[in-house]
Subunit: 423 residues, 2 copies
């Protein structure tokens, strides 16, 4: 389906105009920090590259006349003041850190589109009733310091600041020490107080919008996740003299579980998924039936009931296969993240804003975690997805179309200004 799109016009409602050239230049200049030879970005949390990215962002914000704050997690807030400074601000944001050999857009697109929105408002001499703050959350990825999304987690009380400051990277360096080293430890008093709403623009990280030929989607929530660690114990025997019918083969049980979980997920509509990403046979040699296989299972659903149901079916499936293959099974639930349901009013606003810029509306549910997940606990939140080419993300070939970036920025501008005008 090739879709007809109305040409993107200057926003006649607000008078403000997105400057795609400026947005593009900002994204590419930011991508030069930690750039990899293959066109990607390695910009791990609290490294020199992260510092350089923060410095650049801060300079742009100052140039745009924004007021900067830094909280105790190192999260940056750049405030474009509203007509009534006493009102809770509208937050727009994402993150500037990347995974190793990641892409240019996962994170920065949201931060810099937010910046472009306030640049556009400032150029037009427009100011909302409420302030708009652009947020760069520290350590969204969790690639250097685990867990991920710690800065938004601390904001909502899911972790303490002390817990996060004591996290260590693989070389033993502490989060708090590295925050000091790059000069980005701020004050807990700079955390936002009351927040009117939070909007996060992000690349989709999946192939759905591309396959449907759509540039944007209003994101209604985030899939809930259940992670299992599964241990299968059979009978290790020599691969030669052990007849097929007498075997208790942990690998065969694992193979059937991989296939069975896929079939289970396929029995649900998108975006329900099930994945086996990790699998280790013991001893793992070519001519020995493994005594043991340790594997992961990841199932995701968008409702609490659906997640409980698919997780229950996955467990039953694994136990049934273990019985049939005469292997012992241990199933350990190692993570259980309930689904996130974003604020319906904000989703509706994003949907309407997408249509207003001339794109077809599409709602979807995000498969991966984002800071918006935590922010949703303390303020009305929603996300705006921009089409990712080939569904690629967290890799150097991560790419978007600039026309999509413009549509995303126009949408964010409309939605943000609408929220900022609210009493």
């Amino acid at each position: 389906m090739k879709m007809k799109m109305r040409p993107v016009m200057p926003d006649i409602v607000t008078g403000a105009r997105i400057d795609l050239g400026r947005l593009r230049a900002s994204i590419l200049e930011m991508a030069a920090i930690g750039a990899t030879a293959a066109g990607g970005v390695t910009r791990l949390t609290l490294t020199d590259e992260d510092r350089a990215a923060r410095d650049l962002f801060a300079r742009w914000c100052a140039d745009a006349g924004l007021t900067l704050r830094l909280d105790d997690m190192g999260t940056q807030y750049a405030r474009y003041e509203g007509r009534d400074p006493s009102l809770a601000p509208v937050l727009l944001g994402s993150h500037l850190d990347s995974v190793p050999a990641g892409g240019k857009y996962d994170g920065p697109l949201g931060v810099l589109t937010g910046l472009e929105v306030v640049r556009a408002l400032r150029d037009a001499g427009l100011r909302g009733r409420r302030a708009i703050e652009i947020v760069n959350f520290t350590n969204e990825e969790g690639a250097r310091f685990e867990p991920a999304m710690v800065a938004s987690a601390v904001l909502v009380g899911a972790y303490t600041a002390d817990f996060v400051h004591h996290r260590r990277d693989a070389t033993g360096l502490r989060f708090g020490d590295e925050l000091d080293r790059i000069g980005y430890r701020g004050d807990a008093a700079n955390r936002p107080g009351a927040i009117h709403a939070y909007l996060e623009l992000h690349i989709e990280q999946g192939p759905v919008l591309e396959s449907e030929n759509l540039p944007l989607a209003a994101v209604e929530g985030i899939l809930g996740i259940r992670w299992f660690n599964v241990t299968l114990r059979g009978q290790s025997q020599h691969a030669g003299p052990s007849p097929m019918r007498s075997r208790r083969d942990a690998m065969v049980a694992a193979g059937r579980i991989i296939v069975g979980l896929r079939e289970l997920a396929l029995s649900y509509p998108d975006p329900v998924v099930a994945t086996v990403g990790r699998l280790r046979p013991v001893p793992g040699v070519i001519n020995q039936i493994p005594a043991e296989v340790v594997m992961s299972a990841d199932v995701r659903h968008w409702t609490d009931e659906g997640l409980a149901e698919i997780a229950g079916k996955a467990e039953a499936l694994m136990r049934r296969i273990a019985v049939e293959e005469r292997v012992e099974i241990d199933i350990e639930t190692i993570q259980n993240v309930p689904p996130t349901r974003f604020d319906p009013r904000l989703v509706e606003l994003l949907d309407a804003s997408i249509q207003a810029v001339g794109a077809p509306s599409r709602r979807m549910v995000a498969g991966a975690g984002h800071d918006a997940k935590y922010m949703n606990d303390i303020t009305p939140t929603a996300m705006l997805f921009v089409r990712t080419i080939g569904g690629m993300s967290h890799c150097e070939s991560e790419e978007i179309a600039w026309d999509d970036a413009r549509l995303g920025a126009e949408t964010l501008l409309r939605a943000a200004l609408r929220l900022a005008e609210e009493p």
Copy 2:
């Protein structure tokens, strides 16, 4: 099926009598060398334990009046002279080395039953027309120095002595140096010349005889082996935002291959087998669809045509699944061992000898490699299997029943003496 067995009688044909107490004592005394706390044995090739085992075997052979020779691989030959020393001898043998944390029987049972056979003949004042030589082959297991079965391989010209002497263990020590260190480097002139026949008694290492309630089997040959290294390359994506129907999941392809190979092997009668023992996903993390899975496939059949057929079907199956899952596949054949067919006359002799000692006859094909595989290239060869409890081998719980050991020894005595009497 509980089988009735005639009571085992002194061998009225030969007048010689197996002394089970002596055989048992020898096996247990040998098992004390390198004994593990859990009842097994660790006696790796050319270690101090291997030297102690060789010393003990040599002492017993000298006590039995046998003449000892040592060849350049360290293989020991203990000769019980025949009435006509000019005739080629009958060889009975196996190995005294073990895998790490192996069992008491895999190898020693064959060597020490051979010794018991000549002890019995000597006690009865019997001597065959041909000499009988008991052989302890060096490094059958290949657990310390790869490859396995090097001593018999050198005898038949499959490897040169120089190649073997330069093999190194995991710590860098050389086979030849370790052979010197334990004082067991002999002379290539001591390799056997013409050999009339070779018989190897060994534990079954599988559950077939136990499941059929049979103590012994005449082994007709050894399964041919085809080993594949299979690399599946799909699309690595985040486990969350990647809809099931758009995935190119290397792990799902691997799971289907595991299940498919099992089904393929089950479409053949025993002892045809297929095994996946090794599998590694890359990157192998819980929330990422693996970009790549590297796995092994091991298929075995007892005829050349059968091996070619099942290997071809396995390849076709893997390629079909790869196409269906839209992943790339590389299939590399990393080992191709043709089936071994032992001398039919010797198999017949063992079969008749089993019946003569009062046990039901059962022929079978060995699934694992043995020195008999190489010996078959230079002399008429066959193997005699003794039931293994629970099909366990290469582990500390490896076990046999002593009644089975006696029946095996009686069978070997009959067959060996018959061969030694041949003109």
